[in-house]
Symmetry: C2
Subunit: 420 residues, 2 copies
C-alpha cells in the first residue's frame, strides 16, 4: 500500500474548536455545536450547512463518560444535519484522527463531495479515579488491566525503558512539559494558559502572601523536581508529565479538492495519510518506539512524496511527555535515541529547527481524548494559514499530525500542504 | 447524492459467522477468531491473510459490556492482521452495517484492494437489567432515558402508534415471531433452533410429565396470548416479540470487483448502499415509520437502479416484531399500513412472495447487537450462492440488508447481486 494514492484529492476548507478545559453542566452535544459554529465562521466564502453530506465523529467513550452511546446521530441532529449519515469512529485517543481519515476516504471515494469531521469528549463529569479506569479500558482488559496497569503506568514503563536504553533522565521529560506549556500560554484555546515559570512564580507569590516559607526554586527544572510541586504519578512520570482530564470538541469541513476554491481562499490540501495498528503493550519486545506510528508515518510520507525534513510544523501525541520524545523519533525528525536531547536543546521549540506541538500539545492545550486528533488538525490549519498569532511558525507550508490510540495499538498520521 | 456511484465496484468474496447464542467464558476476540476462520474457509479459491489491508469492525459497546474499549486493534491482532489499520465503527445496533459501508467506501476509494469487515458483541456476561441499561444508552441519555424509557418501551410506543393508525392487533406482531422462529429452526447458526409450535409442544409435554394440568392451547397464537407462556415486557410487546440477549461475531471479506474472480467463483456484488440518521424518538412526529430507513433504502435502490419488487430475499432489522413490519413498509415491499397484513397472510414467509428474515432474523437467529449487521450479509451471501440449505429461497439473485441503530437514529441499507 505504500505510496498508494486516493481516488481524488481532498482539502480542508473550515476548522473550529472549543477551548479545551472542564465545563460542568455542558454535554458533548453543547460543545460540538460551539466547535461547529466556529468551523462555519472559518470558511472564507461561507457554506450552506445543507450541502454537508455526512458526519464522521471521533469519540472514545461517551458510553462510560456520559452513559450515552450512539452519539453520532445526536451530534448530527444538534448541528442541524439530520437526516445525513452520521458515523462514530472509536480508536481510543486516536478516535478523531481516524474519523478524519474516514472522512478523507469517503470524499476520495466519490460518494460525498463535502463531509463534516468532528471530535468530542466530555471527561470531567466523573471522579478522577473513574476517568483513569475508563481510560484504562483502552489497554487490554484481559491481559493488562487485571495486572494493575493504568495509562500513567503504561507510559512510565516506556519512559523507564527509554531511560535505560538511551541515558535519558526524568529531567529530559520535564523539558517537554516546559516547552509545551510555553506554547500553550500563546494559545487562547489551551486548557492551561500558564507557562511553568508562571506557575512557579505564582506559587512563590502565594507562599509569600500567606507568610509561609517561600520555596527557593532556581528554575523550572528545580521546581519540577520538587515532589510537593510536581508529585510523582507513576515514576518517572510526574504530574507535569501527564496531559490533563479535559472536555472539548473540534470540527473540520472536508471537500473534494476541485471544489475547494468555491469555499476557501486558503484551503489545506491533505497530501498524506497513514494508519496502522499494533499488539497491546504487554506483547511487545520494544517499549522505546511505537511501531504503528512508524508505519503510519511511512505511509503518509510515501503518499505525500515527502520526508520528515520537509515538515515545517507538527502536532504529535504527547499524552505523556515521553510520548512526544518517542513520536519525534518514530516520525524521523530525529535519529533513534536523540529525541530527548533534541527537546533539551530547544530544537522542537517554537523557534527551533523542528517546531513540535506549537498549540501546547495535549499536555497544555488539553486532551479531551476523542477530540484531540481533530484538534491537532485545527492547529495545523491555523499555522498553514498564518493565523496562529503569537505562536506562528514563519512561512509554515507543510504540517503533520500524529495521533496515537492507547499505548500505540492505533496510530494515524496526516500531512497537509498549503498551496497559496 | 441520490444515484451517486462509488469510484469502483466492490464485491464480497468470503463470509463467516459464529453461532449466535450465549457463550460464557468466551470473549469477543475468541468469537471473532471463529468467525474469521469460517470466513477464510468460505473463500472459493483461498486467500493469504497477509493480503488483507485493513479491518473495519462494528461493535456497539464492549466498553460497557466487557469494560474493553479500543477493540479494533485487539480483533486485528487476534486474527493475525496487526499492524494493519483497524477501525471500530459504532452506530448502536447498526454498528456493523455501517462498518460494512465503511469497508465498501474504503475499497471504492482506491486506498485498499482487500478489506476485512467484522461485527462483534458479547452481551451475556452482564445481568439482564444491566444489559437493558446498556442498550438504553443508544437512546437519548438527556431527554429519554431519565424519563424511564428502555428499548422494549421505545418499540412498544411505535407498536401502539401503529395499532392505533392501521388497526393492527397484538396478534399481528405475533405472526412475525412465529415466522421468524420457523425460519430460525432451519438455520444451524440461530440462537433459537425451535419453532414456536415446538416450544408450545414441549411445554405441554413437560406439564404432562410432571403430572400438572396440560394447557389446552389450540395453536401458536393462543399459546402466545397466554401471559404465563409469553409474558408482557412493555405492552403490546411480549417476550416473543423481543430479540434475545446474544453473543456472536461475523466476518466478511471485501475486494475490488475486478479482483473478485481471483478469489471467488461466486462473489456477491455490492450494487447499492444507503445510510441516514434521524433525531431521537422523542423528537419525531410519526412513530409508525423510520425516516432514516426510508432514506437509506431510497439511496440504495437509486444506486442499484432497482426497486423493492426486484428484491428476492431481505434481512431486515427485527429487534422487535413491530420493527420488521415497519421495515417492510419503509423499504417499499408493502404499502404503508399493510406490512402487518402481509405477514398475517404469509407473504413474508419462506415460500411467500417477498421472503423476509430467512435466517430467523434478530428474533430467532439472535441479536449480538454489534454483529447483527454483518450477520445479515452472511445470510444474503448464503442465499445468493444457493447455500442456505432448508431455508433456501429458489433462484435468489438480488438480496437486501436493512440494519437499524437505536430507535432509527441510524439506518443503513445494502443491496447485493449475484452475477453467476
Amino acid at each position: 500500500m505504500s505510496g498508494r494514492r486516493l481516488g481524488r484529492g481532498v482539502a480542508v476548507v473550515g476548522a473550529g474548536m472549543t477551548k479545551f478545559g472542564t465545563f460542568p453542566g455542558r454535554a458533548t452535544r453543547d460543545l460540538f455545536v460551539d466547535a461547529f459554529q466556529e468551523m462555519r465562521r472559518s470558511v472564507d466564502r461561507g457554506i450552506d450547512p445543507a450541502d454537508i453530506e455526512a458526519l464522521y465523529v471521533g469519540n472514545y467513550s461517551s458510553d462510560l463518560f456520559e452513559q450515552q452511546g450512539h452519539t453520532a446521530p445526536i451530534m448530527a441532529d444538534w448541528v442541524g444535519l439530520a437526516p445525513r449519515p452520521a458515523t462514530r469512529i472509536e480508536d481510543a485517543c486516536a478516535s478523531s484522527g481516524v474519523a478524519f481519515r474516514e472522512g478523507l476516504i469517503a470524499v476520495a471515494s466519490g460518494l460525498y463531495d463535502m463531509v463534516l469531521v468532528g471530535g468530542i469528549e466530555k471527561m470531567s463529569d466523573l471522579p478522577t479515579e473513574q476517568v483513569t479506569d475508563t481510560l484504562a479500558t483502552a489497554g487490554d482488559a484481559i491481559y493488562e488491566i487485571p495486572a494493575g496497569f493504568t495509562f500513567p503506568g503504561f507510559y512510565a514503563a516506556m519512559a523507564t525503558s527509554y531511560m535505560d536504553r538511551y541515558g535519558a533522565t526524568p529531567e529530559t521529560f520535564m523539558h517537554v512539559g516546559i516547552k509545551n506549556h510555553d506554547n500553550g500560554a500563546r494559545n487562547p484555546k489551551a486548557q492551561f494558559g500558564a507557562r511553568i515559570a508562571d506557575i512557579m512564580a505564582s506559587k512563590k507569590a502565594r507562599a509569600e502572601a500567606k507568610g509561609r516559607p517561600v520555596p527557593q526554586w532556581a528554575d523550572e527544572i528545580e521546581f519540577l523536581r520538587d515532589e510537593r510541586a510536581n508529585p510523582t504519578i507513576a515514576w518517572p512520570m510526574r504530574l507535569f508529565d501527564c496531559s490533563p482530564i479535559s472536555d472539548g470538541a473540534a470540527a473540520l469541513l472536508l471537500v473534494a479538492e476541485d471544489l475547494a476554491p468555491s469555499f476557501s481562499d486558503r484551503p489545506l490540501h491533505i497530501i498524506g495519510s497513514g494508519q496502522a495498528s499494533d499488539v497491546a503493550l504487554h506483547d511487545r519486545s520494544d517499549l522505546t518506539s511505537i511501531r504503528a506510528a512508524k508505519l503510519a508515518g511511512d505511509q503518509a510520507f510515501a503518499m505525500a512524496g515527502l520526508g520528515p525534513r520537509d515538515v515545517d510544523v507538527a502536532e504529535v501525541h504527547d499524552c505523556f511527555t515521553i510520548a512526544e520524545i518517542i513520536a519525534t523519533e518514530d516520525l524521523g525528525f530525529f535519529p533513534v535515541g536523540e529525541g530527548g536531547k533534541a527537546v533539551e536543546d530547544g530544537r522542537t521549540a517554537l523557534d527551533g529547527s523542528q517546531p513540535v506541538n506549537t498549540s501546547g500539545g495535549l499536555k497544555s492545550k488539553g486532551h479531551p481524548v476523542g477530540a484531540s486528533g481533530v484538534g491537532q488538525v485545527v492547529e495545523i490549519w491555523k499555522q498553514l494559514r498564518g493565523e496562529a498569532g503569537e505562536r506562528q511558525v514563519a512561512d509554515a507550508r507543510i504540517g503533520l499530525t500524529h495521533n496515537v490510540g492507547g499505548t500505540g495499538q492505533t496510530c494515524v498520521v496526516h500531512i497537509f500542504a498549503r498551496r497559496f
